[in-house]
């Protein structure tokens, strides 16, 4: 007789294995249903949004062409919105503009009609009468506050981090003294530009009402954000709101907060018309109206010893929030927390300022403020190395944080610090040190060079965030010894469903195929917290593991000798009814964060990465091609190594695109290039081959033997690595993104002129 327990124990573990992703077959056959693939519901209408097309002004009137037949067109304006606020952090963004217009693409009127062609004509039959007001598009102009466009003086948020000497004196005096005392002082300014997420599936939502309340389904990352927005706007009870994720074609942060607005719009139209309403943005509308990465400017002054030992850092970071607050305070916070890079500084003063401009609100985008500040600090370290006559890679290695060191927020790193190994692996694979020493290779008009970036990214919510959030997960016992995971975490391509099933299967000791993941619908799943912040595997995965273990232990406790897990489970269900384990996340007890002083354990742990880029610069056209990209990342534990590498490579390519070709071009508040034709993301021919290594320095509280969050990590390093490589190849120093041929050419002219 087969001992059931033995059989379970000898079952092949799936953690660390490249199982076929659970949604793989549906996705390769065209069977996966994204929001616009859902067949129309009976009576369904198409919805459209009329936008301000003025960057700032006062809405005087809305005119509806009287010669147009409006009989079968549903019209919604601010008057129809029960509580005209998009619920998020600050109540400053209306669902529909009522009076004030604060950016070019502010939604003002919603229209719905069953006939798409007529809807387009109705759209053209609406005229907005807006009295223009002076608008502000530049961060520094906003800070000067000559024209006030937000609050009292345009400043939405400020943060201050101090350490060492700066602790005693919050003004700049103490840090200035500390820097002045250093042997070498280096100053620089750095900036980054907007970036569009450009998920290939545009935003879209379907909403309807029935006796159960309001329903919305669509492309989204955070069903409970939409749920909260509905609760506020429609004053509904939680159980009257039903938000369900459809298969989602990429998000990268772009479907974190924005879907709330589209869902509200669809639901407003649905409410007024009494019919289901579908709003699918086309690409132009998606690029124009939805959120983007915050542009930033950073000023750095640092002091170090002549041998390259870093001492003191003074940094000021400014971010452009756009017209409304949305998630900007959190983005700025993450930016300042990562601003010191992965380096040891004794004295630190980092100041962050978020200001408003009359551009569409910037929002969540993979990396969430960190790519901006890591761009600045990595470029700055390159500048320090230049001044000292050291190789930047060596300077970085010499100053990298190791276990026991303290970060800029005075957090002591307690382990799972795999940075050094990452650097070793990436340097070795690329032969970085020898090739840097050998200098650039110039063949005719083509110059090749190598550059590196080293960085760490915190996993999970900042500081006390997870403690306040209380993310939850439920695991149910199903017939036949199967488990179903219910969680609000969404799979937007990163492989959440698969990885959760792997975690639960090994935790419970059952076959991978016996675990399923419920569709995230607010009616059926607990709020696990949003699918953001590199927290899904590390934080939510950890409670999936606990819940699966707890449930399996219950089955195990009732198991009779010789009985299979399935039989024991079925008997338990028959005897005691539904079995499920609901587990709430508790951060490690030692996580200690002071929100006022911005000091302490900013994150329980950091994932690490080292990128080495090799570029070829055409000295005639100044086009940059990334020839090779090596990276090594400390992921704690790779639950699915193949998908893990896929995340790292995809993120790196987004960073390379941001560095080289992606540029949102603005003209008086309007986006000049809202198309895939002229907003250029890398193609397969632009992308380098990626060689990616996984390093595992386990995090003791991570699931499945120590996994850490890595979703955002790869976005941080691509741009500085490419810029360092361009500098190595050409000597051109670019501190302001993007590195377009025009910019490089201008820098070359300057350097020629200087010679």
């Amino acid at each position: 007789m087969v001992d059931a327990k033995k059989a379970r124990e000898t079952r092949e573990p799936v953690v660390g294995e490249n199982v076929v992703r659970v949604d793989g077959a549906a996705k390769v056959t065209g069977g996966a249903r994204y929001v616009d693939d859902i067949p129309p519901m009976p009576g369904e209408l198409h919805g459209a949004t009329v936008r301000s097309r003025v960057p700032r002004g006062i809405l005087r009137a809305i005119a509806f062409d009287p010669s147009f037949d409006w009989s079968d067109v549903t019209v919604v304006t601010a008057k129809d919105v029960p509580d005209n606020v998009v619920q998020l952090i600050v109540d400053d963004q209306p669902v529909l503009a009522a009076e004030r217009i604060n950016h070019m693409y502010e939604p003002v009127v919603l229209l719905a009609c069953s006939d798409k062609a007529k809807l387009a004509r109705a759209y053209a039959a609406v005229t907005l009468d807006i009295e223009p007001l002076p608008a502000v598009f530049d961060m520094e102009e906003s800070l000067a506050a000559e024209t006030v466009i937000w609050g009292e003086a345009n400043v939405q948020n400020r943060y201050l981090i101090t350490k060492g000497a700066a602790d005693t004196d919050e003004s700049e005096a103490a840090i200035d003294v500390a820097i002045a005392a250093c042997e070498v002082v280096v100053r620089g300014s750095y900036s980054t530009h907007h970036q569009e997420q450009l998920y290939i599936e545009p935003n879209g939502m379907i909403a309807w009402w029935d006796e159960a309340g309001a329903h919305a389904t669509g492309s989204l990352q955070c069903p409970f954000y939409v749920h909260k927005a509905f609760k506020r706007c429609f004053h509904l009870e939680p159980e009257q709101i039903h938000i369900t994720q459809a298969v989602t074609g990429g998000g990268f942060g772009g479907k974190e907060e924005y879907p709330s607005l589209i869902a509200l719009h669809a639901a407003l139209l649905a409410k007024k018309s009494g019919r289901p309403v579908r709003i699918i943005y086309d690409r132009v509308e998606d690029i124009e109206a939805t959120t983007k990465r915050h542009p930033s400017r950073s000023w750095i002054e640092s002091g170090c010893d002549r041998d390259g030992t870093l001492r003191a850092l003074k940094m000021r970071v400014m971010m452009d929030a756009g017209a409304y607050v949305t998630l900007s305070p959190v983005v700025l916070s993450r930016g300042v927390l990562h601003a010191g890079g992965c380096y040891r500084w004794a004295d630190v003063r980092i100041e962050g300022i978020g200001v408003a401009t009359n551009t569409p609100p910037n929002g969540a985008f993979r990396g969430f403020g960190a790519p901006q500040t890591i761009w600045a600090i990595e470029r700055h370290l390159d500048a320090v190395a230049r001044q000292l006559g050291l190789d930047a890679g060596e300077l970085k290695v010499r100053n990298m944080l190791v276990e026991g060191d303290t970060t800029s927020t005075s957090q002591t790193l307690r382990g799972s610090v795999g940075g050094t190994e990452c650097v070793e692996r990436a340097f070795e694979a690329s032969d970085y040190l020898a090739r840097r020493r050998a200098g650039p290779s110039v063949l005719g008009r083509k110059a090749r060079g190598l550059g590196c970036a080293v960085f760490m990214h915190g996993g999970g919510f900042t500081g006390s965030g997870e403690r306040m959030l209380k993310g939850k997960v439920a695991v149910d016992l199903l017939a036949g010894g199967r488990l179903e995971i219910r969680s609000g975490s969404t799979d937007i391509g990163q492989g959440t469903e698969t990885v959760f099933a792997q975690i639960a299967a090994d935790a419970a000791g059952i076959p991978f195929e016996h675990v399923s993941v419920a569709v995230p619908s607010t009616t059926h799943v607990p709020d696990s917290g949003p699918t953001v912040a590199s927290r899904t595997v590390m934080v939510v995965g950890a409670i999936v593991e606990r819940a699966a273990k707890e449930l399996a232990a219950r089955v195990e406790a009732s198991r009779r000798p010789g009985e299979t897990f399935a039989a024991a489970g079925d008997r338990l269900l028959a005897k005691e009814g539904p079995q499920s384990a609901l587990v709430q996340y508790e951060p490690p007890a030692w996580v200690n964060w002071d929100d006022k002083k911005y000091k302490g354990d900013a994150y329980p742990v950091y994932a690490w990465m080292c990128d080495v880029a090799e570029v070829e610069v055409d000295l005639d056209t100044f086009e940059v091609k990334v020839l090779n990209f090596w990276s090594a990342a400390d992921v704690g534990k790779a639950i699915h190594p193949l998908m893990c590498k896929g995340q790292l490579e995809g993120g790196s390519l987004q960073a390379i695109g941001w560095a080289l070709s992606e540029e949102v071009v603005w003209k008086a508040g309007a986006i000049v290039n809202p198309r895939m034709t002229n907003y250029i993301i890398p193609t397969a021919l632009d992308a380098p081959p990626f060689e990616t290594f996984l390093v595992e320095a386990p995090y003791e509280h991570g699931p499945s033997g120590g996994a850490k969050g890595i979703g955002e990590l790869p976005m941080d390093g691509g741009a500085p690595a490419v810029a360092a490589a361009v500098e190595h190849a050409t000597g051109l120093i670019i501190n302001h993104l993007p590195l377009t041929p025009e910019r490089l050419f201008a820098a070359w002219l300057n350097s020629e002129a200087a010679q």
Binding site: R21, G30, I200, G250, G493, Q494, G495, G646, G650, T683
Partner: protein, 161 residues
């Protein structure tokens, strides 16, 4: 306009304005939602199908030009339980993350493998250069297609021996 054409091996008919897009015919009356609309202007390749064996962006093809011709969409490559080697490799080797670009990628790759059974990585990159993917960095897509080419060659060899 009445259009009669073969879709995934089956004779089908639609009645649409001649300038209506093939993409809308597929996703609408033909009930095949595999091809997606990522841009609607020929830039992203998510709407790609084979038209008489040649990959085209169906958002740019007027239905009026399809009469008497043969269209293959992702649904025509294989189905759940009967995945083609190319589809299986795409699922197994990390070629699909969010999956929205996958139908178009598969069509571009299918067209490549039909004319070149032993492509280099560069051949693969060239073949899918009109298909944008924002998730993968392309590395795993290229590897998936190379794996499929290898498997197809091995099975052909097996069949010939």
């Amino acid at each position: 306009m009445k259009v009669a054409f073969k879709v995934n091996g089956v004779q089908r008919h639609v009645d649409m304005a001649p300038l209506a897009r093939l993409l809308d015919a597929l996703r609408g009356p033909l009930g095949l939602a595999g091809a997606k609309e990522g841009c609607g202007e020929g830039e992203c390749g998510t709407c790609a199908v084979l038209l008489d064996g040649v990959p085209v962006n169906s958002c740019l093809v007027p239905i009026g030009q399809c009469d008497g011709r043969e269209v293959v969409s992702v649904e025509g490559l294989g189905a759940i339980g009967h995945l083609s080697p190319l589809q299986a490799c795409m699922a197994e080797h990390g070629g699909a993350q969010c999956g929205i670009c996958t139908p178009g990628m598969l069509i571009a790759a299918e067209a490549l493998l039909r004319r070149n059974s032993d492509p280099t990585a560069h051949d693969v990159r060239t073949a899918i250069a009109g298909n944008l993917c924002r998730c993968t960095g392309y590395e795993r897509i290229v590897q998936s297609i190379l794996h499929a080419a290898y498997e197809l060659r091995s099975s052909d060899k097996g069949a010939a021996e």
